[in-house]
């Protein structure tokens, strides 16, 4: 090379093209990548889209439900209103029957149920209210007498059996309470403010009161609970055996010297603050006084008297949390394990395969039970359930990843990457793994319904005990309902429906995902 070119001054150089930057020609359309392609295919499957929307709705429900109920949260518990069917206040205002069940009554029990409504109307103790007029009352538990059948009983007397719709919240009727002076004043102030009665006349405990602890026996009755009335001459009390809509019950209220009923009674205690009073409250109004709202349970209440809807929402949250946790963690373990054994092959593969053989050989029920027995007391039931899932749940995914790696690892582009000096880690995660991603995501999505199913099964069987006042799961709700659901079908209906809905939707969603990522597999399920 000649000397003049050996050292050229930098200022002599100049760019060939300074005005315009050089590029490949841009695509006219936007490029469609693997995931976009899958998304387009997924959108076309109507069932999967609907399923996805329903899943979204259920998740939204579980988060929004606590905000729909203003007066209480999921730990709120009213034992008096345990196992009650759904009651929605605004449906009631529109004239629908809500919170009611159909039940059959004898004449006596029917009259007792009706008496609650009469008593609620007869606040002053002076009004003559028949059953018929009391039927118009808002506090009448019997909403409608649908059927009356008269049969000849064993002792040749006519027995009439009634079928009626009864509002189970109002059926509670009156109860006795013992309160302090300050609360009594609060109640009286509340009564004045809202124009509703909480305190009702106390009942005399004489021979006409069948059960002094049951505040619903406010009318004169005999020892069996049959209501009493005066005979035609008005001299003697006789019992009433037949239900007559025009019948007026005789009250058995405690009265002062002027004949006015007594609403509260001093029972002891010293000064103004600690004085105790006995009162008789109409529970619906007392509830409203306590919690500022009339009983309003969209899905009824559970066996302890908690709001079933809020319990269900928290159950869905826990079940989904477990399912998603399991899905994500098993996805990661499976991907790591499967790619290691698939990529390296040979004796590493052999040993790792035997390990997963052994782990997959243990039935899941055994794993879950052992984890619960050993760990539940130390780390709590939810973490030990999660560990049980993490122990064996990833094997399916690992096997999938392994086959994918065997398929791709000897292809030309991997060889090219290796020739260019790519490290093992880069080849695994940047070159092979993305190819297997679709398959793996699909199976990770299908882990979710499986996990929910197993979780509910285990907690239904009582192997896993997830229920507490703070949390619950779908299976726990079902298990709580298992022995009593025949009398209270709503306890079983709502959790079972929600669980089935979630299972169906997740399966449909997973199938749609699989079809979208792997069109070749469409139809083989």
């Amino acid at each position: 090379m000649s000397a003049e070119f050996q050292k050229i001054d930098a200022s002599k150089f100049r760019f060939v093209n300074e005005s315009e930057r050089l590029h490949d020609k841009k695509f006219e359309d936007k490029p469609i990548g693997y995931f976009k392609d899958a998304w387009i295919r997924f959108r076309k499957s109507r069932a999967s889209v609907v399923a996805a929307v329903i899943i979204l709705c259920v998740v939204l429900f579980s988060f929004i439900a606590p905000f729909c109920v203003k007066s209480h949260d999921q730990t709120f518990m009213v034992v008096t209103y345990a196992k009650k069917p759904p009651r929605v206040a605004f449906l009631r205002d529109l004239g629908y029957k809500t919170g009611c069940t159909s039940r059959s009554f004898s004449a006596r029990s029917l009259m007792k149920a009706l008496s609650t409504g009469v008593g609620a109307e007869d606040y002053t103790g002076k009004e003559q209210i028949s059953f018929e007029t009391a039927m118009q009352s808002d506090y009448m538990p019997i909403l409608e007498i649908t059927n009356a059948v008269t049969t000849i009983g064993a002792d040749k007397t006519e027995v009439t059996t009634y079928t009626a719709d009864i509002e189970t919240y109002l059926e509670v009727g009156f109860i006795y309470k013992s309160i302090e002076q300050s609360e009594l004043e609060n109640i009286l102030a509340w009564e004045k403010e809202h124009g509703k009665h909480v305190l009702y006349p106390l009942v005399e405990s004489n021979e006409y009161c069948m059960d002094a602890t049951d505040a619903n026996f406010w009318y004169k009755s005999d020892a069996k609970g049959n209501p009493l009335t005066y005979n035609a001459k008005g001299t003697k009390l006789i019992k009433v055996k037949e239900y007559d809509p025009a019948f007026v019950l005789l009250d058995n209220y405690k009265r002062d010297a002027d004949g006015n009923p007594i609403y509260y009674e001093y029972t002891g205690g010293g000064d103004v603050d600690t004085a105790q009073y006995k009162i008789r409250v109409l529970y619906v109004n007392y509830y409203e006084y306590l919690y500022g709202e009339e009983p309003n349970y969209f899905m009824g209440t559970d066996a302890q008297g908690r709001d079933l809807m809020l319990r269900l929402a928290s159950g869905i949250k826990l079940s989904l949390f477990i399912a998603i946790c399991v899905s994500v963690v098993n996805f990661m373990i499976g991907a790591f394990y499967g790619s290691t054994e698939g990529y390296y092959g040979g004796w590493i593969d052999l040993i790792m395969e035997r390990i997963s053989d052994i782990l997959s050989g243990i039935p899941f029920i055994v794993v879950a039970s052992l984890f619960q027995i050993h760990l539940a007391k130390k780390v709590g039931p939810v973490p030990s359930l999660l560990f049980a899932y993490f122990t064996t749940g990833w094997i399916g995914i690992a096997a999938l990843v392994r086959t994918q790696f065997y398929r791709f690892k000897n292809q030309e582009y991997i060889m090219a990457a290796r020739t260019l000096g790519a490290k093992d880690r880069r080849i695994i995660w940047k070159h092979i793994f993305p190819n297997a991603l679709g398959t793996i995501i699909t199976s990770a999505a299908l882990i979710i319904p499986g996990t929910i199913n197993y979780e509910s099964m285990l907690s239904y069987l009582g192997i896993v005990k997830l229920g507490s006042s703070q949390q619950t799961s779908l299976g726990t709700l079902l298990s709580d309902a298992a022995t009593i659901w025949t009398n209270y079908p709503h306890l079983m209906f709502f959790p079972a429906m929600m669980l089935s809905l979630l299972m169906i939707c997740f399966n449909l969603f997973g199938n749609g995902l699989r079809d979208a990522f792997n069109p070749a597999l469409r139809g083989t399920e």
Binding site: D357, I358, G361, I362, P363, I365, V366, S369, L370, I373, H374, P449, N453, S456, M457, Y460, L461, G462, I463, L478, A482, W485, T486, P489, M492, A496, L499, S500, M503, I504, F506, N507, L508, N511, G523, T524, E525
Partner: protein, 321 residues
């Protein structure tokens, strides 16, 4: 010969896996604290027996004793709580019959229906019948079996009153599991079990059959002059059954495992219920045997399914990679 070797290899591997799992289970179960019954006289007796059986020796020695007893006397330990001092093995065997009976009925009921529906759906592919069946399959497979159990109980016991709520005890049904009365009380659990089974077989056969129905040899068969029904029955169905049959054979073995939840709901005195009671009463020897039993069934089922491919379809050769 190669096949024989392959079978041997699989069985040897199975026992190896079974052995490892047994060891894990043994250690995990034996290190649990044991609880004594409330009664004082029983307590001393049990403590003395445990001492004699070597429960207080080091774990490794205990494990040796455990295997020695199994190999020499076929003794898997003793039940202390469920059935006092009854051998665990006898207890398990006595629970097998109800479980097997229940599952055999379910299989007899669900396999023909499932297969028939599968064939029907495949023939009517993409028509409304197929869509209906496919929707039902998704529902039946997704919804857990105990939801069906409640449905069955609600409809057939509470609404119609046709079936009893739970399985009759042995004494109620005339001291035999094969009486008409016992069968009657088993209908409800069989129904509850069958929804999922029907859907499973139906889906499997439908998927296989739709594939074989569109293959080239079907075209050839029709060209030869076979009617559509003939071609379907003789060619498509035969090929479609190749993967379906092993799964049915596999479920024949799985019936011994029973269904934990169905047995619990219908109070069937079967293996599943025994497992539940063993956990709840901490009857460890029974629990241990149950674990081995379930593991064995699972592993053996896998082998039987794999091997039956070769017996059913000679084109599939065993032991080849």
């Amino acid at each position: 010969m190669r096949m024989f070797k392959y079978v041997l290899k699989r069985i040897a591997l199975m026992f190896f896996v079974l052995f490892v799992i047994t060891t894990i289970c043994f250690v995990l179960i034996r290190i649990l604290p044991r609880e004594l019954p409330m009664e004082k006289s029983q307590q001393e007796l049990i403590l003395a027996r445990w001492e004699a059986l070597g429960y207080n020796k080091p774990l490794l020695v205990q494990y040796g004793i455990y295997w020695k007893n199994i190999i020499t006397k076929w003794d898997f330990g003793t039940s202390w709580y469920i059935a006092y001092r009854k051998p665990a093995w006898d207890l398990l065997v006595s629970r097998l019959l109800p479980t097997v009976l229940l599952n055999v009925y379910s299989l007899i009921f669900s396999v023909p229906i499932g297969l028939a529906l599968g064939i029907f759906a495949a023939i009517k592919k993409n028509k409304w019948q197929d869509n209906l069946i496919s929707t039902m399959i998704i529902v039946f497979i997704s919804v857990p079996s105990y939801v069906y159990a409640f449905l069955v109980q609600y409809i057939f016991y509470f609404k119609l009153g046709w079936l009893p709520l739970q399985m009759y005890s042995l004494a109620d049904a005339g001291n035999t599991y094969f009486s008409w009365k016992m069968f009657h009380s088993l209908i409800a659990p069989v129904l509850a079990l069958s929804f999922g089974e029907i859907a499973y077989h139906c889906r499997f056969l439908r998927a296989e059959l739709t594939e074989t129905l569109t293959s080239d040899y079907m075209l050839l068969a029709r060209t030869k002059g076979l009617t559509k029904a003939q071609a379907t029955a003789r060619h498509a169905l035969k090929n479609a059954m190749v993967p379906v049959l092993p799964s049915i054979i596999g479920s024949l073995l799985a019936i011994m495992g029973g269904s934990l939840i169905i047995e619990q709901i219908f109070s069937v005195p079967g293996v599943g219920q025994l497992f539940m009671r063993a956990i709840n009463t901490f009857d460890y020897d029974v629990f241990m045997l149950d674990c081995i039993f379930y593991t064995f069934i699972g592993l053996a089922g896998g082998i039987v399914v794999d091997l039956s491919y070769g017996f059913i379809d000679p084109r599939i050769r065993m032991g080849e990679r």
